[in-house]
């Protein structure tokens, strides 16, 4: 039975581990290599690592290698991916999957190119969503620019272009620990057949259960694992308690 994955999400800015609230007020919360080591030791299912200013500064290979060197679990790397060469750079530095966001809204063809060359299994399209006039709107460039698309139709489009997975993030709930946007998760998961990773808002194990009930194939979280005592294993036990398959170490 395929397990529901529980995925810590780490974000860095200026080479430091940070956590935002609603994509703003990034707070420095320490050393990212130490955090990666902790999650590797905890035998987590997978890790997502996003370099938030790689878009401006360019991708730095030494940073991603410092991360992948510590990981004997799958890692999705993202931030600043603009070309197929960037995808290759991250894969050769040890990424298993590459997350793309702003660049693919400007150039959706990049999804097709990356997936034809490296396979759809390593192409993750990250969709940052903000509620605008009761509609789910896609935002880019760290939530600062309106991408001009509806989240559900964009999800379908990226699936058709060859994305292997969708990382669905709610800007409104990011860092709030008030629970995922389960309606958004349901709408997107129902619209596509590729796996959807829920992100943004998890505060307690029950939030993760609700996200999976809404159709998420995996649940990702940052604040919950940084600021509370909840570990990925606690989440997995909560999922198993209600009958979802989980890999409990």
């Amino acid at each position: 039975m395929l397990k529901v994955r529980v995925i810590p999400c780490l974000t860095i800015k200026d080479h430091k581990l940070v956590k935002s609230v609603r994509f703003r007020d990034h707070r420095n919360i320490g050393n990212y290599v130490a955090a990666v080591r902790v999650f590797n030791a905890r035998d987590v299912d997978e890790l997502i690592f996003l370099d938030l200013d790689a878009g401006k500064r360019g991708i730095e290979r030494w940073i991603v290698e410092a991360v992948t060197k510590e990981c004997f679990m799958p890692v999705t790397l993202g931030g600043g991916v603009k070309t197929v060469e960037d995808v290759q750079l991250l894969l050769s530095a040890g990424a298993d999957k590459v997350a793309m966001n702003s660049a693919v809204l400007e150039c959706p063809r990049l999804i097709a190119e990356a997936s034809r060359r490296y396979g759809s299994q390593c192409v993750v399209v990250s969709i940052d969503v903000r509620m605008v006039h009761a509609g789910w709107r896609v935002f880019t460039h760290g939530g600062s620019a309106d991408g001009g698309k509806d989240a559900v139709s964009w999800a379908k489009e990226v699936e058709d272009l060859g994305a292997g997975e969708i990382l669905l993030n709610s800007i409104d709930l990011d860092g709030t620990m008030e629970g995922y946007d389960t309606e958004l998760i349901r709408a997107v998961a129902d619209a596509v057949r590729i796996p959807v990773i829920a992100l943004g808002g998890a505060g307690i194990p029950g939030d993760c259960v609700k996200a999976v009930q809404a159709g998420a194939s995996a649940v990702a979280a940052a604040s919950m694992f940084q600021y509370t005592q909840v570990t990925p294993n606690v989440i997995k036990r909560a999922l198993a308690d209600v009958g979802f398959p989980a890999r409990i170490g």
Binding site: M1, L2, K3, V4, R5, D43, D45, E46, E65, T68, K69, C71, F72, M73, P74, Q88, L91, S92, A93, G94, A95, D96, K97, S115, R116, R117, Y118, G119, S120, Q121, C122, G164, E165, R193, I194, P195, S217, A218, R247, G249
Partner: protein, 203 residues
Amino acid sequence: MIAIVDYGMGNVGSVRNALRFLGAEGIVTAHGADFEKASHIILPGVGAFPDGMRRLKSCPGFSDMEREVLVRGKPFLGICLGMQFLATYGEEAGGAPGLGWIEGRVERLRVDEDAYRLPHIGWNEVAPIESSILFKSVPSRHFYFVHSYVLRPNDPNIVVGTCAYGETFPVAVEKGNIFGTQFHPEKSQKGGLAVLKNFISYA
């Protein structure tokens, strides 16, 4: 020394890291001299079949690699796409012939895609057969998968592990010195590292 075949697409870094953790030296290379010197050869893989095959065949040391494995009997492990390359033919993305070291085809998983999302991504249980070399004394049956296609060998006797996701399919093969895993041992924590250790201990 273990040669990790570099054909410009595989996730070579993580295989080298895993080998280092196991105390073995991995060299990422596409050159014949390295394949000759190596005790074992690992072919990792992330990518689409036709593009990958084309790149693999254009490696300067491709024919040396083939000779080391097929003539000299050097232990060889294909991971994920690297396992799929062993087949006679791969159907992905328009299709292309594979290495043909194992008779069989690479086909898309035969699942109801409304009920079973593809790619098959994540941790799943593998049922190994008892006589398997790769799975000997492995502490966990959970392994990490990321794929939509699978190698179906014509000879069922070389299949040493299967997995279920909408259907039951082969995920590990052993044919003499040629090994393959559809899952990523280098990404499957303790269980995966044990599989890699079994491979590099095989002589």
